[in-house]
Structure formats: structure tokens, C-alpha cells
């Protein structure tokens, strides 16, 4: 990652609180993360770790009452300070979102054609004919064969996989520079998942699109993205190049996640669950949020919150990062580790 040029997307100490019964509770805690132009970053974490909200903050698509601290910068411009017109421009053609549940995100009473062309016609002043032609091309591009017929159909007439392709086409129609993919394949069956990921991959390649990919599937994130950021309880606990996920991860949480999933390459072995339950950012004490579940936690972990420190290829927010080879990770080289 080249730190000299402005990244396309930058979270700078992003902090989000939501009102819960009168008081504001933190759900995203000081997230620093960048997505370079054309690059793909995978945001991985359990449900409730704040990964979706982090992505939604890029489009200011937050629940009512949410307070945002820090900043989100898109191409250098502060999203939190944007006026309505700039925000609409950003939403229309800067960054586009693909959601987990496509069916919930399309007006069920309107046709697919309406859904795809409405933005082009109303906000860009394109003619309906031109917009329809563009929608037809895009549907073909995302692998929908009989595009003209599909344009006349309503969401209820399409399968989940087809609808997700329609969502991808809708995301691409504004010619954005960044895709925010919020678990785009979670609601789909496995074969459809692979197809949809291939469609996203191809579209990115042709257009040089950057992507923030949200998932709880570590292996998928590693396969699709250049770098991985692991979130726990609203904080990014570890960031590292996707290729080094297996041999260079040194946060106990990342290690635990890797150990908790099956690996078809190594034959049968019992999967290791992580003890305890995931905390939300507001439940975390003054120390490391993962400390109560961490096998390597010591006294310091419960009193001081670790800050992200450079560890080899990535950055880890841990007082006692696990050295490569210390656990069941694949063999790696010895690295020097600075303690925070």
C-alpha cells in the first residue's frame, strides 16, 4: 500500500455511537483503515462487531440518532461534513453498496427496469431509452441472459442469486469508484455464492474498482481481497496482507478465528470454538475487548487498551502478539515484535 498518495477511502479514527435507552453506546471504536484506489480490503468479524456500520458510514447510511466521531474521507473529501448535494453525488456515482439481502432492498412493487433506470433518468437526466439500453447491457454483463424480459419482471419473480446480480448491476450503473459489499453472498447458496463473487471480481477487474468487502468468511475474504482487517467489538484488531493471513497473523483473535474454521487441505480435525460470547464495543472495559476470551491474556490486557502496532507485514492491536509458529499456524519466520 502506498501511503504517499491519497487513498480512495480513509477511515480516520472513526467512532460511532448509537442511542440505546437514552444513553449513547459505542458500536465502532476508533477505526483507522484505508482502501487504495483499485484495491480490495476485506473487513472480517463476527455479527455485531461493527463492520457493517463502518461500511455504511461511507454513505452516511446510519441509523437515526447515530453520532459519528473522527472522519471518513472519500477521495480526500470528508463524508461527515458533506452537504446534501455532494452526498447525493457520492451516493449516486462515487461509492455504491451491495447488500446482504437484495430482496429487501428493492421496491417489491416496481419492475427491475424501473429500479435500474430510475437513478439514471432522474438524477442524471438520461433519456429512458438510453437508460434502459444501459441497464440491459449491465444485466448481460452480470450474467443475466434474457435481460429485456427480466427488466419487465418484478423482484418476486427472480431468485435470490439473480436479484443479487441485479443489485450488482444497480451498483455498477452509476459508474462508482468504490464498491461497498456488505456480505453480498451470505444469503445465497454455495454455488450461487461462487458465481456472484466471480461477477463482482470481473466487474472490478474491468473497471479498476476499489472494494470494501464485508464478510465473516475469512477464507473468502483472503481469496478476494488484497488485505484483511479483522474487527472485534468495534475495533480493528489486526490488519495484514491477505496472502499472509495464515502465516503472519499474530492477534490471538485472528488465530482463534482461523482455528475455528474447517480446512479441507489438512484432513479431519476438531474445530476449535472461541470460548465465551462476542462483546459489543460498549461492553468492553478499559482494557483489550478480547481479553475476557483470550487464552493469552495477562493483567495488562484488562487494564490498558492496546493500540495498533506494526508487526511484520501488518498492524496488530495486541500487547502480546503471538509469534509465528507459536500456535498451530503454518510455519513462518521469526519476527521482531514491538510491544505497545
Amino acid at each position: 500500500m502506498n501511503h504517499m498518495e491519497t487513498p480512495l477511502l480513509a477511515f480516520e479514527g472513526l467512532h460511532i455511537t448509537l442511542p440505546v435507552r437514552g444513553e449513547h453506546r459505542a458500536v465502532v471504536h476508533r477505526v483507522d483503515l484505508t482502501v487504495p484506489a483499485g484495491g480490495a480490503v476485506g473487513l472480517v468479524g463476527e455479527s455485531g462487531s461493527g463492520k457493517s456500520l463502518t461500511a455504511r458510514s461511507v454513505l452516511r447510511l446510519l441509523p437515526p440518532g447515530a453520532r459519528v466521531g473522527g472522519d471518513v474521507r472519500f477521495d480526500g473529501a470528508s463524508v461527515t461534513a458533506m452537504d446534501a448535494a455532494s452526498l447525493r453525488a457520492l451516493r449516486g456515482s462515487g461509492a455504491a453498496m451491495i447488500f446482504q439481502d437484495p430482496r429487501a432492498h428493492i421496491n417489491p412493487l416496481r419492475t427491475i427496469g424501473d429500479f435500474l433506470t430510475e437513478g439514471l433518468v432522474t438524477t442524471r437526466g438520461q433519456r429512458q431509452g438510453a437508460a434502459t439500453a444501459r441497464a440491459t447491457d449491465l444485466l448481460r454483463e452480470v450474467g443475466i441472459a434474457d435481460a429485456p424480459r427480466r427488466l419487465r419482471q418484478r423482484p418476486a419473480e427472480l431468485s435470490g442469486g439473480l436479484l443479487q446480480r441485479v443489485m450488482i448491476a444497480a451498483a455498477l450503473i452509476g459508474e462508482p469508484r468504490l464498491l461497498l459489499a456488505d456480505e453480498p453472498t451470505t444469503a445465497l447458496d454455495v454455488t450461487t455464492q461462487a458465481e456472484v463473487m466471480a461477477v463482482i471480481d470481473e466487474a472490478r477487474e474491468q473497471r479498476g474498482l476499489a472494494m470494501l468487502f464485508i464478510t465473516h468468511d475469512l477464507a473468502l475474504a483472503a481469496a478476494v481481497c488484497d488485505s484483511i482487517a479483522v474487527m472485534y467489538a468495534g475495533s480493528v484488531v489486526e490488519q495484514l496482507p491477505a496472502a499472509r493471513l495464515h502465516d503472519a497473523s499474530c492477534h490471538p483473535y485472528t488465530r482463534a478465528l482461523l482455528a475455528a474454521r474447517p480446512d479441507p487441505g489438512t484432513g479431519a480435525r476438531p474445530l476449535r470454538a472461541i470460548e465465551g460470547r462476542p462483546l459489543s464495543a460498549s461492553e468492553a472495559g478499559p482494557g483489550c475487548a478480547f481479553a475476557p476470551r483470550c487464552p493469552a491474556a495477562r493483567d495488562l490486557c484488562t487494564t490498558d487498551r492496546p493500540l495498533p502496532e506494526r508487526t511484520g507485514d501488518g498492524r496488530t492491536a495486541c500487547h502480546f502478539p503471538l509469534l509465528a509458529g507459536a500456535d498451530d499456524a503454518a510455519p513462518g519466520t521469526e519476527r521482531t515484535v514491538r510491544h505497545g
Binding site: L59, L61, P64, R88, A89, R91, G92, S93, A96, M97, F99, D101, A104, H105, I106, N107, P108, L109, R110, E118, G119, T122, T123, A156, A170, G174
Partner: protein
């Protein structure tokens, strides 16, 4: 949401088969709709259907019972009751129609804008609707008549106000639910303006509910308008109107000639019940729920 699961009509390819499939289990709403449609047609074609001029006095045929010349008899000045019922349908339907239309349009506009904008505007609108909801429509209309004088126009204006909450409160809560659905925020992400989302997406999707509320309200407003005329504040004699006819016939009930009040009252009751049944039938069909 259940509103979107309207099942396409099954059945044969023939139009007749389709109609039959649509009608299955819908006997009551269809009968109710037929009654409403017949009454509306009667009002529209009153001049063609009525055997007499509704205001033609016949001193030789006063307070008669049913006969071949006067199917439903005559009133105390010898006017043909059937003709007066047919002509009377016009003000009796037009006034409630105007009230329902005004309350429906204004109520829906208030409700959707309040649900969309929220904040202090929503609180002011909601408080206003609650306030109006506290007054029975007829009381509001009587106060209006006391200030501005009697007349059907006063009834239309005051009852339009009184029926505003009947539409707006229900539509507002539905609009709040609809607004929170993911597709609405997704539309914002396509770069659409709030106004367009409201007018082109929220409003059309709420229309079935507005239609159901308006249909049921139509029956009740007719009852209120008839009552308003009954107490002498609405339609003025000699114009034929159902509520007024019930009042005109009242002295005859004691005299053993209940025809005028009876037939006018019957028409009102049947029409109001038909509106109610049609409303609940539409509700089940369009919204998939009983109310």
C-alpha cells in the same frame, strides 16, 4: 410484508375462469360492491330512472301507500318517494364523496410528509390529528353551522376536517413502517431525492391502505351527512336528501304512514353497511388483514 404477497389469479386461461377464481370466497365484498355501484348508478341516472319530478307536489295523492302509480308511495305533500330517493342519492353521495376525497388527499399528504420528515413537524402534525380526533365529526359540524349558518357546504368543510385523522393516523403509522424498510434507504443510495422517494415509491405502496380507509370512511361520512341534514342543518327543503327525508317522514310514523322515513332510513343503512363490508373485503384482498 403481506401487502406484497397479492397472489396472482389462478384458474383457467379464459377470462371467465379468471373472474371466477378472483371471485372465489369474495361473495360478500362483491355483493357489497354491487350495492355501492348500483346506488351510484342510480344517483347518476336519476333523471332517466325517476318516474316523477322529485319536487312535483300532487295534492290529490298525499301520503299514499305503495301503488302501481307510486311504487313506494307518496309523502305528505304528494311527492313520489321513489323519485325523491333516486334524486336524493345525489347530495347524499356527493357530500360524503367530497369529504372522503378531501380528507383522503390532505390526510395522506400530511401523513406521508410527517412520517418522512419526522422531528418537530411530525410532532405538530400528530398533535393536531389527535386534537381533531377528540371531536366527534357531527359536533364539529354543528359548531360550524352555528358559526357560519346551515348548509351542506358547511358539513363538507367541517366533516373533511373531522375525518382527516381517520385517514392520516393510520397512513402515518404505515408510512413510518414502510420508511424503515431497507429498500427505501437503498433508493436514497441511488441518488434519488426524498421528494421523489415519497411521491414515486412510498405513496404508491401505501395506496391500497388509503383506499381501504377511504372506503370505510365513506360509509361513516354518509351517516354523518344524513344526520346533519336530519337535524335540519344540512340540505334545506325542498331538495331531496336521504337524511332530510327521514326527518320529513317522522311525523307520519305516528300517523301510521312510515313509508318515507322507512325507505330513506333503509337506503342509508344498506349503503353504510355495504361500504363497511366492501372496505373490509378490500382490506383482506389488498392488505391481507382483517380490520
Amino acid at each position: 410484508m403481506s401487502a406484497y404477497q397479492s397472489v396472482p389469479a389462478a384458474g383457467g386461461r379464459l377470462p371467465l375462469g379468471r373472474v371466477r377464481a378472483l371471485a372465489r370466497g369474495q361473495g360478500v365484498p362483491i355483493a357489497a360492491g354491487t350495492v355501492v355501484a348500483l346506488v351510484v348508478l342510480a344517483a347518476v341516472f336519476a333523471p332517466l330512472l325517476a318516474p316523477y319530478d322529485p319536487n312535483a307536489v300532487d295534492p290529490l295523492a298525499v301520503s299514499q301507500g305503495s301503488s302501481a302509480a307510486h311504487w313506494l308511495g307518496t309523502d305528505d305533500t304528494g311527492r313520489d318517494i321513489l323519485s325523491r330517493l333516486l334524486y336524493g342519492a345525489r347530495p347524499s353521495l356527493l357530500a360524503p364523496a367530497l369529504i372522503t376525497l378531501t380528507a383522503g388527499l390532505a390526510g395522506t399528504a400530511l401523513a406521508v410528509s410527517a412520517a418522512w420528515l419526522g422531528g418537530w413537524y411530525d410532532r405538530v402534525v400528530s398533535a393536531f390529528l389527535d386534537l381533531v380526533f377528540g371531536f366527534p365529526g357531527l359536533v364539529l359540524a354543528v359548531v360550524g353551522a352555528a358559526v357560519f349558518g346551515a348548509g351542506l357546504d358547511i358539513a363538507v368543510i367541517t366533516l373533511s376536517l373531522a375525518y382527516l385523522p381517520y385517514i392520516a393516523r393510520v397512513v402515518r403509522s404505515a408510512a413510518l413502517r414502510e420508511r424503515a424498510l431497507p429498500y427505501v434507504s437503498a433508493l436514497g443510495l441511488l441518488g434519488l431525492s426524498g421528494r421523489r422517494i415519497c411521491l414515486r415509491h412510498l405513496l404508491p405502496n401505501l395506496l391500497p391502505l388509503v383506499l381501504v380507509q377511504a372506503t370505510t370512511s365513506f360509509g361513516y361520512t354518509m351517516l354523518d351527512v344524513a344526520a346533519f341534514s336530519f337535524i335540519g342543518l344540512g340540505t334545506q327543503p325542498p331538495t331531496a336528501e336521504w337524511g332530510l327525508m327521514v326527518a320529513n317522514g317522522a311525523p307520519g310514523i305516528i300517523a301510521g304512514q312510515p313509508e318515507q322515513s322507512l325507505y330513506a332510513g333503509l337506503v342509508i343503512v344498506v349503503f353504510v353497511i355495504a361500504c363497511n363490508l366492501l372496505g373490509s373485503g378490500l382490506s383482506r384482498r389488498l392488505l391481507g388483514e382483517d380490520r
